[in-house]
Amino acid sequence: MIKFEHVGLRYGIGPEVLSDVNFTLEPGSFHFLTGPSGAGKTSLMSLMFLGRKPTRGLVTMFDQNVNDMDRAKLSKLRQKIGVVFQEFRLLPHLSAFDNVALPLRITGHRESEIKSNVDELLEWVGLGDYKNVLPLTLSGGQQQRVAIARAVIARPKLLLADEPTGNLDDNIGFRLMHLFEQLNRMGTTIVIATHSQSIMEKFGHPRLVLDSGTLHVHEQSNWVQKNIEGVY
């Protein structure tokens, strides 16, 4: 589904923030993306949600080479990707309902369908009573739930989440992780960027580890074993 081959990224004439990144994500897989701050997680995510083009290498998404793809096809491809941004990026002038409804409106769904789906999802994330409220009056955790609801409402084929549980208490964080797992069981490929060891250990999915712009793929069992060996 997603294949990065010798991908590099630099901003302007600066040094490469990602260099020679190679990995493949199979359809329906679930990965954590982790690494120290400044390792390039957000840059890698931006390449995956087609917010940037690589300065070198080949990116294949949904079996299509995106390097030379025209704008119309890129838009269609982006509609298959749900993104939870670290800073949420909710539209401040739109209600929680309208923020969540955006992906469905962009893809041209009927209003009746949008209403029932959005109402149901907002209830599910515990924001049923806040649907007409503007984001700025919501708490950080509530805004994050709106952002997550917006990312999953259109049942994307790929869900990318940057620290999605960062502002949530453990209970709600685990609940949302279960939502991601549920989506994953329905066929959505999921990549979650996180620093949370507890989340990664509890859910035990393979890890993409970024360090100084280079990527290493670790299956969870090996990762745990290696770190345990390192500790003892």
Partner: protein, 311 residues
């Protein structure tokens, strides 16, 4: 579509017509309305000036183009003053000579009172007939203006007296038409400048709105919104503001034109007042449509161009 607008006190969104982008907020919208209103007003003034010039040139040329004036000078070639009786006799001979010409509809000799009235703006109202030698004037109406016919009329009249003058008004007419043509070109140029300024201002306003909401637009773009999805919202916004502005400009322009029309209405035979026919008025009412169309197209190309710079 956002069905809600912000209730500032409660932070609750209320039902309203929607934009994904907060385009209906901020003072930039009012600026664009005022700008378009001014542009529409100026375009109306330029267009009205063109209509007035058309009317004036038509008025002048229709009165002169199929006519000529024959003048029997008050002083003959030997510098002797002709008596009124001589002038009347010559005048009669000229009229008789012109009789057989088929292309002449009428040849009317002006009375001394009529001639005095013509010269009174220069010589004063108090001039008594007989105090000053006045020429004889014969106004000739032609069915068509043909150079060959005018030549044969000239020869026939000159045969009566070589100093009789025939004024075909050609020089005067050409000068007037040239002046009017220059003024019309100037008015069209002004209209063109107004159009270009409108396009530049609308493109600038759209770019400014896009810069203001760049993060929101980028978010829609990343969520898979097509260029047309985003463009339509900005285009609709620009169209609504332009319609509002151009209608304001139209209203102000109509008031001024009506006032000018009232103030300029007079019986002056040389300078007709500003009166617009149904075609002219339709042209003025089409201005908001034209300006709105310009805004719609400008917004479309500006937004697509800016979006084209996104990955």
């Amino acid at each position: 579509m956002s069905r809600f607008s912000k209730n500032k006190r409660l932070g609750i969104a209320e039902s309203k017509g929607r934009y994904d982008l907060p385009l209906n907020k901020g003072s930039a919208s009012n600026f664009m309305i005022v700008l378009v209103a001014l542009m529409t007003f100026l375009a109306m003034m330029a267009l009205s000036a063109t209509f007035l010039l058309n009317s004036v040139t038509h008025h002048w040329s229709s009165g002169l183009e199929n006519s000529l004036t024959i003048e029997i000078p008050a002083v003959d070639t030997d510098e002797n003053i002709r008596s009124q009786e001589d002038i009347q006799a010559l005048s009669q001979r000229v009229q008789d000579t012109l009789q057989p010409f088929a292309e002449i509809n009428a040849a009317t000799a002006l009375t001394q009172e009529e001639i005095q009235e013509l010269v009174s703006p220069w010589l004063g109202e108090d001039l008594a007939v007989g105090e000053m030698p006045l020429p004889g004037l014969i106004s000739v109406e032609l069915s068509s203006r043909n150079p060959e016919n005018i030549q044969s009329i000239t020869e026939a009249v000159k045969a009566i007296a070589s100093d009789i003058k025939i004024d075909t008004h050609e020089t005067w007419l050409n000068d007037i038409l040239r002046l009017a043509g220059t003024l019309k070109i100037s008015a069209s140029f002004v209209t063109l400048i107004i159009g270009l300024t409108t396009i530049t201002a609308i493109a600038g306003a759209i770019r400014s709105r896009m810069a203001e909401h760049r993060d929101d637009i980028e978010l829609l773009h990343l969520m898979g919104a097509s260029d047309m999805y985003i463009t339509k919202q900005l285009q609709r916004h620009a169209l609504i503001l332009t319609i509002k502005g151009s209608l304001l400009g139209l209203g102000a322009g109509l008031v001024i034109i009506a006032a000018m029309s009232l103030l300029s209405s007079s019986d002056n035979p040389v300078m007709p007042g500003l009166s617009l026919d149904i075609v002219n008025i339709s042209g003025l009412f089409l201005l908001p449509v034209a300006i709105s169309f310009i805004a719609w197209i400008t917004a479309r190309f500006t937004v697509l161009r800016v979006l084209g710079q996104m990955p």
